[in-house]
Symmetry: C2
Subunit: 86 residues, 2 copies
């Protein structure tokens, strides 16, 4: 079984209330070192057998059309997940 | 400005309704190639200057205590984001 990771983040110019909430909570929990937080999404898509170039093309297309909203989000990564187990 | 990525996924044994919804929508949009989908979260933490080992340690601690719920989620990645711009 192969797996493909798709990562989606809010565009830099878009307000990110979830990230803002995390950024506000960090100093209250003692983490003063971080100056900003953005929160996005991470998907793992499973395919039968090994990941092929066709699978990756389909994942890129799905990332554009279903997994992200291109008005407010960027797809930042589409890649095969390397596995140790067989 | 340095950035650290933290990725969190639902544990394999935990029901993932968001992933299930995406998995159900994919074939309706013509993507028949994927056999399963899991949806998690991706955070970008910003720090002043370059990312240090101390920043990464703080990010790992924040990932465990704030960014994930260890009962139902796994932290799958904490890493420095390599940037091209200065």
């Amino acid at each position: 079984m192969g797996r493909i990771v798709v990562e989606v983040m809010p565009k830099p110019e878009i307000l990110d209330p979830q990230g803002k909430a995390v950024a506000g909570a960090l100093p209250r929990l003692g983490f003063a070192t971080f100056t900003g937080v953005r929160q996005g999404k991470r998907f793992e898509l499973e395919v039968d057998g090994a990941v092929t170039a066709e699978h990756l093309d389909a994942a890129r297309e799905a990332a554009r059309t279903l997994l992200s909203n291109p008005v407010i989000e960027d797809v930042v990564r589409v890649a095969t997940i390397e596995e140790v187990d067989a």
